[in-house]
C-alpha cells in the first residue's frame, strides 16, 4: 500500500462510550447469535447511559447469519441510518471501528454500535463456520485454521530459531491473566510443560497453543467527542486506525513471517502520533501462540525474529514489563470464532480503570490489534483516555 489509507480520519474524531460482553462460554440452549448481539448492545447502551432508540448506526458481523444487519435491526426494532456488515474474519470489528469513525465524522449517524454474536460451542464449529472448498488446498486436508498458522510457525522457527517452549510461554502468560479475570473460561493454572505435552493438533501446536472454542458476543458504542463527554463513562478516544489485507488463503501469503500488522500498525501509529513505546496496554488477537509473537514484532514492540525471546521470563504475563492480552486472550478467556471485538472491550475497560485485579496501573493508551482469516486481514486500533487527546 502507498500513502495513508485513513488520512481522512481525524485523531480522536470519535470515542467509545459503551462496551459490554454478552453471555460467554457455553450459553443457554436456544440462544442464537442475534440474541447475543442484542444482549451485548442492551448492556453496552446501559453502560453508556444511552437508550436503544439512540442507535442510528449499526455495524455487525457473524458467520452464522448471512444478513445479520437485517436480522439484528428487526430484532431490535430499529432502522439504522448507517449500516455496515463488513466481514473479514476476526478483525472485522476493528475495520468497523474505522468505518464508524468515518460515518460519525461525516454525520451519517450519531450513535454507532458494533456488535458480534456466536454460538459456535453450542452448535459446533462445523455448523457455525462452514468451510469453503478450495481445489488448491482442500485435497491436502488442512485442518483450518490450525494448519495454516502451524505453517507460519514452522517458518518462524526455521528462520529465527523460535522454539515450542517460547510459544508455550505465550499460552502460560495468557492463562495467568485469565486467572485474574472472573469472566474467563479457563480457571486453572497452566505450565509450559503442560502446553508441550498436550494433545498434538498441527505440529508445532498442541491444543494449548490454540484458542478456545466458546460461545459469546458483545457490543461497543461510539459517538462524537462532543456527545461522548456528556455521557456516563469517561470517553475512550479512537486515536488511530490502520488496516491491511495480504491474502485470503495461506498458500497465497507473500511471506509467512511478516503479517499485514506491520502496515496496519504503521498506519495506526501515524494517525495517533504514537509509537509502540508509548502504548500502555497491548491487546493482540491470539488465536494461536505464534500470533502474539508475530504481532509483537510487526507492531514494533520488538524486532522481527526476536518475538520468541521477547515473551520468555514472564515479560507479557501479569507483573511483567509489557501487559499483553490482559483479559486472558483467545487462548484462555473466550474465543467464539471472530474474537476481535473482545480486544476492543478489554482495551476500553483498561483505559477506564475497570479491570480490578488485572488492571494495568495508570493506563492511558491501548492498542487493540485484530487478525482475520489465516493471518489474512489485519486491523489495528489505538485508543486513549481524555488526557491523550
Amino acid at each position: 500500500m502507498t500513502g495513508p489509507i485513513n488520512s481522512g480520519l481525524r485523531r480522536g474524531g470519535a470515542a467509545i462510550v459503551g462496551a459490554a460482553e454478552s453471555d460467554l462460554g457455553h450459553v443457554a440452549d436456544g440462544l442464537n447469535p442475534i440474541d447475543l448481539m442484542a444482549q451485548g448492545i442492551a448492556r453496552a447502551v446501559e453502560d453508556a447511559g444511552l437508550k436503544l432508540r439512540d442507535i442510528d448506526g449499526l455495524l455487525c458481523a457473524t458467520t452464522q447469519s448471512r444478513t445479520s444487519g437485517l436480522n439484528l435491526s428487526e430484532y431490535l426494532g430499529i432502522s439504522p441510518r448507517f449500516i455496515d456488515t463488513t466481514i473479514l474474519g476476526g478483525s472485522s470489528f476493528m475495520f468497523h471501528v474505522a468505518h464508524a469513525v468515518a460515518a460519525l465524522q461525516l454525520g451519517l449517524c450519531e450513535i454507532a454500535s458494533i456488535a458480534y454474536g456466536s454460538t459456535q460451542r453450542s452448535v459446533g464449529r462445523r455448523q457455525a463456520s462452514v468451510r469453503e472448498i478450495n481445489p488448491f488446498e482442500t485435497p491436502y486436508r488442512p485442518f483450518l485454521p490450525s494448519t495454516a498458522y502451524a505453517l507460519a510457525a514452522s517458518r518462524h522457527m526455521h528462520e529465527f530459531g523460535t522454539t515450542r517452549e517460547q510459544m508455550a510461554e505465550v499460552a502460560v502468560a495468557a492463562r495467568q491473566w485469565a486467572l485474574l479475570n472472573p469472566a474467563a473460561w479457563e480457571k486453572k493454572p497452566l505450565t509450559v510443560q503442560e502446553v508441550l505435552n498436550a494433545r498434538m493438533v498441527s505440529y508445532p501446536f498442541t491444543v494449548r497453543d490454540i484458542c478456545l472454542v466458546t460461545d459469546g458476543g458483545g457490543a461497543i458504542i461510539l459517538t462524537s467527542p462532543e456527545r461522548a463527554r456528556s455521557l456516563k463513562k469517561p470517553p475512550v478516544y479512537v486515536l488511530g486506525c490502520g488496516q491491511e489485507i495480504t491474502h485470503a488463503n495461506i498458500s497465497s501469503m507473500p511471506d509467512l513471517t511478516v503479517t499485514g500488522a506491520a502496515s496496519s500498525g504503521r498506519e495506526a501509529y501515524a494517525m495517533a502520533g504514537l509509537a509502540a513505546k508509548d502504548i500502555d496496554v497491548v491487546e493482540l488477537y491470539d488465536a494461536f501462540t505464534i500470533n502474539t509473537i508475530l504481532f509483537l514484532e510487526d507492531l514494533g514492540f520488538c524486532a522481527k525474529g526476536e518475538g520468541g525471546q521477547f515473551v520468555t521470563g514472564g515479560r507479557i504475563a501479569p507483573g511483567g514489563a509489557l501487559p499483553v492480552n490482559t483479559n486472558g486472550g483467545g487462548l484462555s478467556y473466550c474465543h467464539p470464532g471472530m474474537y476481535g471485538l473482545f480486544l476492543l472491550i478489554e482495551a476500553v475497560r483498561q483505559l477506564r480503570g475497570e479491570c480490578g485485579a488485572r488492571q494495568v496501573k495508570d493506563a492511558a493508551t491501548a492498542i487493540a490489534h485484530g487478525n482475520g482469516g489465516v493471518l489474512s486481514s489485519q486491523s489495528t486500533v489505538i485508543l486513549g483516555t481524555q488526557a491523550t487527546v
Binding site: R141, S146, L151, S202, Y203, L256
Partner: protein
C-alpha cells in the same frame, strides 16, 4: 470462455503435468490459475508446464482425531510459484524446510458417492536434490 482455468489445469494434471500460468506483462508466474493476473491486471496469461522440482517453504504435520498424522506443506516451485501440497514417501515429521522435492500426480480415487475425486499434485523427496 470455453474452458475454465481450473479445467485446463486439471486436464494437464490428468496427463501427469503440473501446469501454471505465466504473465508476460508482469514477467512472473501466476498460481493458482485464474482469468486476471494479480500483478499486472492483464488477462493475457499463458500456460506453461513446470519442471516439477521445488523446495519445501513451510511444513506441518496435522494430527486428525482418527487416523495417522499427515504432512501439509507449502512448496516453492523452481519456476517461481508456490502451492499447498503434501510430501510423500517420507515420515511427515522428517519433511524439513529447504528439502528439495519432485512433483508427481496423486491418482484419482473413487469417492464414497461413487464419483472420482480429481487428481492433484503431491511431492516426494528429489533423489538427486538438484
Amino acid at each position: 470462455m470455453e474452458q475454465s482455468p481450473l479445467a485446463i489445469y486439471q486436464a494437464h494434471l490428468d496427463k501427469g503435468e503440473l501446469a501454471y500460468q505465466w504473465s508476460p506483462e508482469a514477467g512472473r508466474a501466476v498460481f493458482y490459475p485464474r482469468l486476471v493476473c494479480p500483478y499486472s491486471g492483464s488477462t493475457a496469461l499463458e500456460w506453461r508446464i513446470a519442471s516439477g522440482l521445488g523446495t519445501v517453504y513451510a511444513t506441518t504435520v496435522t494430527h486428525p482425531q482418527q487416523g495417522a498424522p499427515y504432512n501439509v506443506a507449502l512448496i516453492d516451485c523452481d519456476e517461481g510459484f508456490r502451492l499447498m501440497s503434501r510430501v510423500e514417501d517420507i515420515d511427515p515429521m522428517n519433511v524439513r524446510i529447504g528439502l528439495r522435492v519432485r512433483f508427481r500426480t496423486h491418482k484419482p480415487v473413487k469417492s464414497k458417492d461413487g464419483g472420482e475425486e480429481p487428481a492433484y499434485p503431491v511431492f516426494v523427496p528429489a533423489e538427486d536434490g538438484r
